[in-house]
Amino acid sequence: MTNCSRDIRIHRILKIRSMDKTEYNLLSEFAPQLRTRTNLGKTWMIILITGILIGLFGLYIQITRGHIVTGMRDYVVWGVYIVNFIFFMGLSYAGALVAGSLHLMQTKWRKPIMRMAEILTVVSLMIGPLFILLCIGRLDRLYYLFIYGRIQSPITWDVIAISTDLIGCLIFLYLALIPDFAKLRDFQDLNVQPWRKELYRLLALGYQDTPEYNKILKRSKNIMAAIIIAIAIIVYSVLAWIFSVTLQPGWHSAIFGPYFVIAAVYSGTGVLIIIMWLYRRIYNLQAYITKEHFVKVGVLLLILAAFFGYFTFSEYLTKWYGSEKNDSLLIDKLFSEFFWMFIISNYLGVILPLIIMGIPKFRTINSITFAAIISVVALWFNRYLIVVPTLETPYLPIQDSRTEFLFYSSTWVEWSTTLGGIALFCLLFTLLSKFVPIIEVSGFSDSKN
């Protein structure tokens, strides 16, 4: 026993001395980001905390005064909250699919962006469900989902799927983090608080950069990558089925599962590009995240934009061509009251990324990021168009004396909690990127060569 641990210790010392030069340089480069507090960073934190406080205030108002403070009413029973829920869940799906498939395919250029995709997955998976909780009238009874849960209900499917997905994605992220924790543990020049060093040591689980350890780790990562791809498809389909199992004219559609999956990866890839752009600028990662990365992920965005456009077209073409009465009412609504939103989400959101990515001349880092922003905004509106207009055109025409019940209009409470959610998303992302290097350090040199 003692022999064994001594062997490991000797091995570790040797290992540190022989630590890969690139990795050492990388660590020296990333270490300051883990501890320094710049003015920009401080301001950013203050903004985020203010955002969260505004969100909490909105939440407090909603809890004390009831759901009457939201724009949701008897016909449009779900609003911005469910849109945000679908949106954030979509981001997580993209992270899972991009990270998982890039890993499985052993893509050479994936290393610098893998960590971002993995963190995006986990953080958005934590934020998304918060928004569905805001839709629930009786949060005090939330545990009924477990004590009275019925497997027939798609909500139960969702609870099972999301929690499985979260666990799966956490494991995948953690597996990728283990070698980096070990590097941070072994890195002598790391100037952080002692508790953090201790935490790195604990989290590294005694990992050593030996072939045996790496073999186990690689195998586990391969398995988890395959699992999270599958789970993510299931999670997002289940989410779509919450809508499509109902008989509502705009929702009762067989393609909703795959449509949601594609839309999810599309918006998530957009957010990934935005994150790449931000960290490249703020952390000066120009040497690691190059134009090549933007073009590669941008091409993925192009393919997804085409798929998304194709699904959207199929969905609305069949509704319009068949012109069933309720479908026609919905289409009429989309092309009148919601026209500008329809233009942004289903025209610009498809065509602009296609043009920017489709013509090589336009492919610059900034224009690719612009296309990504368009796709993200478009996809938020796309979800809004799926939820709200459908609920405003039920089978029985809405005839109600309460005018505020006729149409949905979101309130400041809904927007403040949305702001809080976005701020919390950014905060968790920032904190995680302060705790671990935003670029996977271990094995970096292998993939670069």
Partner: protein, 317 residues
């Protein structure tokens, strides 16, 4: 063909109702008297659900003890309730809506029963369409409920247990008829705090939960008709038991199958496959002109119909 049939149809309906009154009278399910709670305090014998004979206080048996949430999950044995709404008689008097709101302590605007102005197409005539919960035999609302707060009973009634409901509103999107309402804010009165809740009475409603028409099983247990049935001055709404094949509007009791057969009864949006328990008799040979339903409506009520094709066409033509 149908044009020729029309003139004597009204007459035939009356004849039919007269003849079937005698048939149905023997199977009379409900006492039509409006008196409810007798303060006698005597003991009566009652059969429990597991078949035991017990003696209970008459007050308790008849009115004072609403079914607990657990009891309310069991249907009334051997019953299968059904409603028939005769659209030819409805003149939008709104008495069903008002009585229902009063009985269920609802606010103005909160309606378990809604009266729609319907028109199949531009050329066809408009009609008034009272719409309760359809108590579907294939209720999507009950299927999608994640906690079993809404359920289908053996007697056909679909209820909501607002002590179980978590307020996810999935049932509201699941219901294709918008039969459900959500309680958006807390407006519980002092008086309501002392009421013992029962899914069969649906009072008091609770903030953050869903509520809907319940077919008044509390009234049925008291051998009385649902509030909307007794409140209607035109006898539009028939309620009864499909097992006994009889329905009554409080004045006349008729054979359900004969009624549906003779007047070509139908169910709304049959195509959706929800298998509703509410049938409609079409609005032909009507007792009142459609416009009578607009008389005496206040502006607020008129406003809700202003967006209907009927009013839009009227404005243009």
């Amino acid at each position: 063909m149908s044009e020729n049939k029309k003139p004597n149809k009204k007459k035939s309906r009356r004849n039919f109702l007269n003849s079937s009154l005698k048939v149905g009278a023997s199977a009379l399910l409900f006492s039509t008297a409006t008196s409810s709670c007798k303060k006698s305090g005597g003991k009566v014998k009652a059969l429990t659900q597991d078949g035991k004979l017990i003696e209970v206080d008459q007050n308790e048996a008849e009115c004072c003890a609403p079914a607990t949430p657990e009891e309310a999950r069991q249907g009334i044995p051997n019953r299968k309730f059904v409603m028939v709404i005769d659209l030819s008689r409805c003149r939008n008097a709104r008495k069903c809506v008002e009585k229902c709101q009063e009985a269920h302590h609802l606010l103005p605007g909160q309606e378990f029963m809604k009266v729609y102005l319907m028109q199949r197409s531009e050329k066809t005539s408009p009609y008034w369409f009272p719409k309760p919960c359809f108590h579907c035999n294939n209720p999507l609302c009950a299927s999608v409920c994640p906690v079993g707060a809404t359920y289908k009973r053996s007697d056909g009634i679909v209820l909501v247990d607002n002590e179980r409901c978590i307020g996810c509103k999935f049932c509201m999107t699941g219901c294709p008829y918008n039969a459900r309402i959500f309680i958006w804010e807390k407006l519980e009165t002092e008086e309501e705090k002392n009421i013992e809740y029962s899914p069969e009475t649906s009072i008091p409603v609770r903030e953050g939960t869903v509520a809907k028409c319940d077919f008044c099983p509390d009234m049925i247990r008291k051998k009385q008709l649902p509030h909307c049935v007794t409140a209607c001055p035109m006898g539009v709404i028939y309620f009864g038991d499909i097992n006994e094949d009889s329905v009554t509007n409080g004045e006349e009791t008729v054979s359900f199958s004969e009624l549906i057969k003779t007047y070509d009864g139908y169910r709304y949006l049959e195509v959706l496959g929800t298998d509703p328990s509410v049938y409609y008799l079409p609005a032909n040979s009507r007792l009142f002109p459609f416009e009578r339903g607009l008389e005496g409506l206040d502006d607020e009520l008129l406003e809700r119909y202003k967006n209907t094709p009927y009013f839009k066409n009227k404005k243009h033509g």
